[in-house]
Symmetry: C4
Subunit: 263 residues, 4 copies
């Protein structure tokens, strides 16, 4: 992970997840609000989206764990080196642990979608746990790092724990579109911030950043707020576009159907 | 900002906003409780109030950003000075960021008022975010300042984060007049406390305060509680006066109308 | 306050308040659960209890403020001594501030009881604020005191902030007897703990406690849990006795009435 | 407690309690969801389970207190040694205090089960308090211990305070199976983590762990996440097995009954 690519990959993943959740939840919201009361059978399309999302999460975390373990300088599934009496590549093991929990969240999502016996909200609880574990491991990661490095990662924790709290709240407050979009927004924020961490700690070109300069810390704090603003605007725009496109498409397909009936 | 005026301007703004919210929310409350059940179309007057509030917020934050950027010793929209390899006037940029979020809150309020498609509560979420960002930036502002300076600003954070939490709660608990007035009260508290900070750090006359004296810290802590008491009393008085005036006016206009019908 | 009596007086007050609230809330609960649905006019007895409680709070805080101000070595309403350029007896002023907020809570209780226009829950909000201000001032009180002194007061904060949070929750979750008794229990805990602080810091007889000994800190922590257990048991016993006595009295008065009707 | 056995006993207790709660709550959930609406009389079997659980808690805490007090090197119910002017075996007293609160929780459970006058949720409040007191005493336990020792105990606090918060939430949000299973999961986590603490601090064989090595701290943090994953999986598997076995048994007994009616 200690290079630009190692931050860009999770960043891309979270960005994609954030947009996916925005679109999915707006679709749900549109369907909920446009249905007459009483009809509550979800169309199968929503199920297929959840299967896809859950399957992708399981697949991605499996690949992630494999890569972390069997990359050239990885631990190759060895945890303890008896010869040197030392732990082997704990960093890779920690990342594997994070992926494991996102995999569990994927399994929970698939299980909730498949069976009506699994109580609603188990998927959100598992997602909340995955984010909690991510933040928890990051939190104990930060000791004895340079100031800016520790600070930029601790700002990430705001997005991670915020997302965890928002997912936990969704277990109890269901079908609240604002809460759902807030969760998606925090995923996007996490994604863009991973990129920002990559750009700051492993600049692609130009000089290295001074990791102890107070002005850099101040700038990075402010920059986090800009990312938040951008994430808010991205979610707002995406959901407006999806919602309006849906309405348009729905009105159109109704017209087509009514014309077809009349003829 | 590093003078009395720089604290008096946001103080005045928050004071005004607090009173405005008190009056607006009492009007809403009166209307809600006095209507027979079933009639839930808001009179257009409320919409106009929201447009005014949102428009003013957008305008004020635009002016605020412009002033922070293009004041004589401002950054003039330059963020990084390549010659000296240093950031340009980060303080002004941070203030601009705060204004930006209040501007976003204004846009959210206007959008919620305009269209029924925007879910209720988006305006409160945006307000909560604006206060969170304000507190967040202030929090990382305070390191390595003199004791009293850091303390007096950290007391401000109580009002700011309290207001943010109360606005966030309003997303979920709607039409609770106590919560709404508590939010307004915390704005008034913030406003008066900005004035207090100005008086303490940049006294208009008399000697400077000793920024390391423990007794000053103790006094300032207590003084914050007095401001809270004053804010509570101001909100209580304003809402009583508005409520009673409304009842009086309503009773009067009913009498006039019934007399007019009889004649 | 810096003697045993100064801790015994608030201790007695909070103990009394805790028992009073237990009895009052059990009466309310009994009345709520024993009434057939639909009848929701409170008997005037409850109103009189609230007037008494509110009046006593106002009176007690008025007396408290007067005593703190005009006691022999008090500030006599002088806040700043211009000759020595120093604040006058800030400790007394802080205590006056705490009393002031309990007075405001009393006024809010009387107002809520008197008028139906005051929204339900304002009394709880004011009580929550009074406890918050008490904890807030205590919190900033503790710096640079001996270890045991700071620790024993910080344990008090657990009861104070717990009570504040529970009162705040009562604004939103109404008529939940468990929450109401928890609030009363935390007042009793606060009361007994004030006595404990008095006994530890100003022992009536025997040697002084060593304020830096780690074992004393450990004992005091454990002792706080015992106080909590005692407070829980006191609340449980009081409410059981009151509830059973009420049932007995109610059954008896019903029998008397029915006999009287038959004859 | 300062040996492996002293951590294995509470570990076994919490593990057992976690599994017991999982099974009990799934039984409740099955019964709730399979009943037609309106029938809300609990079968007596559930009452007997609660009596057993409460009775066992009371018995276990009584035995625990007795053992802690009258073990060979225990305090034998002496709190203060006047000769040496020192507290006697405060560690044992602290453990007794923890057991006391679990005993109170047992009494509350029995009382809630016995009488309808005890409001629903008192048992959860008492359980929440027992966990809070456990965490509270542990928290002030940790000062001036070696790094790894303090860290491994502070991770325990995550499970303890998490369990306390979840039990407190159950007072207000009733019959939410996800919340109930989360509580059970946190008990299992606590149980396995007690074992882990025993293995790390008092290894049965092999060399002692280096209590200051940063890598050990990192491993232990990650290991806690693995325990969480295991606890989640154990709860998921147990509840699935119980639920499916119940359904099978119910279907079977229905068939038997209908065959018996036809013949």
């Amino acid at each position: 992970m200690a290079n630009f690519g190692g931050h860009a990959i999770p960043g891309t993943f979270f960005l994609f997840l954030g947009f996916w959740l925005t679109v999915k939840r707006i679709l749900h919201h549109y369907w909920r609000t446009s249905q007459p009361k009483g009809r509550h059978n979800m169309p199968p399309f929503f199920k297929r989206m959840d299967y896809f999302e859950g399957g992708l999460q399981i697949f991605a975390s499996f690949v992630g764990i494999m890569v972390e373990q069997f990359v050239v300088d990885g631990p190759h599934a060895h945890l303890y080196d008896r010869e040197n009496s030392s732990w082997v590549k704990l960093m890779n093991w920690q990342h594997s642990t994070m992926y494991l929990f996102f995999g569990i969240a994927g399994i929970a999502l698939v299980a909730t979608t498949t069976s009506k016996l699994v109580p609603l909200g188990v998927d959100r609880l598992a997602l909340s746990m995955a984010l909690f574990v991510e933040g928890f491991l990051f939190y104990y990661h930060l000791h004895s790092r340079p100031h800016l490095d520790a600070h930029i990662h601790s700002l990430l924790l705001v997005a991670v724990f915020g997302g965890s709290a928002s997912a936990m709240l969704e277990v109890f407050v269901r079908d609240n579109i604002i809460l759902e979009l807030l969760g998606a927004c925090l995923f996007i924020l996490q994604g863009t911030w991973f990129y920002q961490i990559g750009f700051v700690l492993y600049p692609l070109r130009g000089p290295q950043w001074d990791l102890e300069l107070h002005d850099n810390v101040m700038f990075v704090t402010m920059c986090f707020c800009w990312h938040l603003a951008v994430a808010l605007i991205l979610v707002a725009c995406t959901s407006s576009v999806v919602y309006l496109a849906l309405s348009e498409w729905w009105r159109h397909s109704c017209q087509v159907r009514s014309r077809w009936r009349r003829s």
